[in-house]
């Protein structure tokens, strides 16, 4: 599973002005890499994240996900791609508040067409894996922030995607919970998942083996596995 972006631009039309949120991104992420995407707000890193996560399409450029061109896919095809290949972890958890942790984790499997029994078995397995097996019948508002984020991670893992996209996963957590969550990501990386982490905290970014800096819609620094590569 590799990610290959070339010449990606995202241009917004605001009034009669055109604004390029992304201005020519070339990026290659290998299978199993743990990358941190950093940059100040307004730099375009969220836009890049959305395109990487198949939530959005670039205006121009090519995005090959595992050899498949996804930049031109339709809405429903993108939805299927997200469902199969990408697991999301958000800053504000984004759990459904009315259903239990267990059902939240099982949700991606509903759209994957997995039968109910198998869904609940898998969901229970991943809840155990993040250490919340005993709390699976709790609703999200009965859980702490750290616990909610662990439910969200279990949800991201349940359909066995190769890529995990984490958008400021520790942004709403205290230091202790942040550490626990990042430990989980480190273990996932060790188990071979490709992880893309968006953060503005350098401390958190150190968990990743590769650091990318986005500024003004361009990647201005790419330090992979201790090797400094200036691409400016």
């Amino acid at each position: 599973m590799t990610i290959r972006l070339s010449g990606i631009k995202k241009i917004y039309q605001i009034g009669d002005q055109t604004v390029a949120a992304l201005d020519g991104i070339d990026l290659h992420i290998k299978k199993g890499e743990f990358s941190a995407l950093m940059g100040p707000s307004g730099s375009g890193k969220s836009t890049l994240m959305n395109i990487l996560g198949c939530l959005d399409r670039p205006t121009v450029g090519s995005y090959q996900l595992d050899g498949e061109e996804v930049a031109k896919l339709g809405d429903d095809e993108l939805a299927v791609t997200r469902n199969k290949k990408i697991g999301f972890v958000f800053q504000n958890f984004n759990l459904l508040s009315r259903i239990s942790a267990w059902e939240n984790v099982a949700l991606p499997l509903v759209y994957a067409g997995v039968p109910k029994k198998e869904r609940l078995e898998k969901a229970a397995y991943f809840l155990d894996a993040v250490g919340l097996g005993s709390r699976r019948d709790h609703q999200p508002n009965e859980l702490s922030g750290g616990q909610r984020q662990r439910v969200a991670i279990a949800r991201a893992l349940v359909n066995d995607p190769r890529i995990i996209m984490a958008d400021e996963p520790t942004g709403n957590l205290d230091t202790k919970s942040s550490k626990e969550i990042m430990e989980i990501f480190r273990k996932l990386h060790e188990n071979g998942k490709t992880i893309i982490l968006v953060t503005h905290e350098p401390e958190i970014a150190t968990y990743a083996s590769r650091q990318l800096l986005v500024r003004d819609g361009k990647i201005t620094r790419d330090e992979g596995q201790g090797v400094v590569m200036d691409v400016v």
Partner: protein, 404 residues
């Protein structure tokens, strides 16, 4: 995504806002209930009218004399004297598909018992009159063929006449008609008012021959009532009678009939048409409230979609397609329609029964309005759910996830 899964999600969502769901359903409940109750009232009126017309005698043809004309001056309809008892016998013997033929004469007389007197219609009839008018004798007996051939002075009286002239049982007593005593041999069962407001119990019945020869001094009959055995054959029998009578009265082809044959089916049709109109009117007024209920569903679904923008965003990020979201919200609004419809049917049937029990109306519950209004309420749930569901399914996942 499985269908049963979608229904479960929809019901969970509806249960999360119980009061709101119930209030939305209320529109549908009232609509469906009103349609069922209103139509049952309309059908009740229709049934009542039909029974009262049938009580006049079903499948009836009435032959009456045409107008007389002497020296270019035309008399009133029925003043013609050419319709005879022989005509009636000829119809009975020569025309098929006939159950009964009942010729009558009638006139108004002052009837007297002791110091009581009463003005009423005296009808001279044959024994078939009892059957053709679906009359029953409450006490005593009816006129027989023996009475007819002997021209006996006997009478059968209606309830109104009996109560106005007698304080005890009138059977066996005498009543004077035109100063001649008639022996009362029977009293009729009360039939009440006819559909045109005439008291059907204000009547004195005597043998036809007695009436013609002893009371009125005439040789013709005022009308011949004919009961046709098969309602499908009404028109055929009617034209056969017309041909037969023209032949018997020697009317040459270019001249008009000197009699007229009428039937009650046209009256029945008019009344049925009128009551169908009433039913439709009541039903459509009620259907408007069903439509308003549907707009209520749409309104609440719009609110629901806006409220759950974030949920939609999450579901889409996790892989829900346009169709998944569309179906989820459509099923939610259809479920409102289905549950509202079912409760509405229960309420509507209860209302219809309560109206007939306490309100004094006859109500008739039939399957058609129940099935129709249920189908309509489900359809309304579907129709008014499409726009909000589409709006939900078209949401951009990024915008939806950002929505606060």
């Amino acid at each position: 995504m499985l269908f049963s899964e979608s229904i479960r999600i929809a019901i969970t969502a509806l249960l999360a806002n119980k009061l709101r769901s119930i209030l939305t359903m209320l529109g549908i409940i009232i609509g469906v209930g009103a349609v069922i109750a209103m139509v049952s009232i309309g059908m009740g009126v229709r049934q009542q009218v039909q029974t009262s017309i049938a009580s006049l005698g079903s499948n009836m043809l009435i032959v009456s004399p045409g107008s007389s004309s002497s020296g270019g001056i035309r008399g009133a309809a029925g003043s013609n004297v050419k319709l005879k008892l022989d005509d009636s016998d000829a119809i009975k013997n020569k025309i098929k598909n006939i159950d009964y033929v009942s010729p009558t004469v009638s006139s108004s007389y002052q009837v007297v018992n002791g110091n009581q007197n009463w003005n009423t219609t005296v009808q001279g009839v044959t024994p078939e009159f009892l059957l053709i008018r679906s009359l029953t004798v409450a006490s005593g007996s009816f006129i027989t063929n023996q009475d007819l051939t002997s021209r006996n002075r006997v009478a059968v009286i209606g309830k109104t006449v009996a109560s106005n002239l007698f304080s005890d049982n009138p059977v066996g007593q005498n009543v004077r008609i035109n100063n001649t005593p008639y022996k009362i041999i029977g009293v009729l069962e009360s039939k009440g008012q006819s559909s045109v407001g005439q008291d059907q119990d204000d009547i004195v019945i005597i043998p036809l021959t007695t009436g013609q020869e002893r009371l009125m001094g005439i040789t013709y009959v005022k009308s011949i009532n004919i009961q046709v055995s098969d309602p499908e054959k009404m028109d055929q029998v009617q034209s056969e009678i017309e041909t037969l009578l023209r032949q018997r009265h020697r009317i040459i082809s270019e001249k008009d009939d000197d009699f007229s044959v009428r039937n009650l089916t046209s009256l029945m049709e008019t009344m049925t048409q009128t009551t169908t109109m009433i039913t439709l009117l009541l039903g459509s007024v009620a259907a408007i409230s069903l439509l308003v209920g549907g707009i209520g569903i749409m309104n609440i679904m719009m609110v629901s979609v806006t409220e759950r923008t974030r949920e939609i965003g999450i579901r889409k990020a996790l892989g829900a397609t346009f169709q998944n979201i569309m179906i989820q919200f459509l099923i939610e609004s259809v479920v409102i329609g289905v549950i509202g419809g079912i409760i509405g049917i229960v309420f509507g049937c209860m209302a219809a029964m309560a109206i007939s029990k306490f309100g004094g109306f006859t109500t008739v519950l039939t399957a058609a309005p129940i099935v129709l209004s249920f189908g309509f309420s489900v359809g309304i749930g579907l129709f008014f759910g499409i726009y909000p569901a589409r709006k939900a399914a078209l949401l951009d996942p990024i915008d939806a996830l950002r929505y606060e």
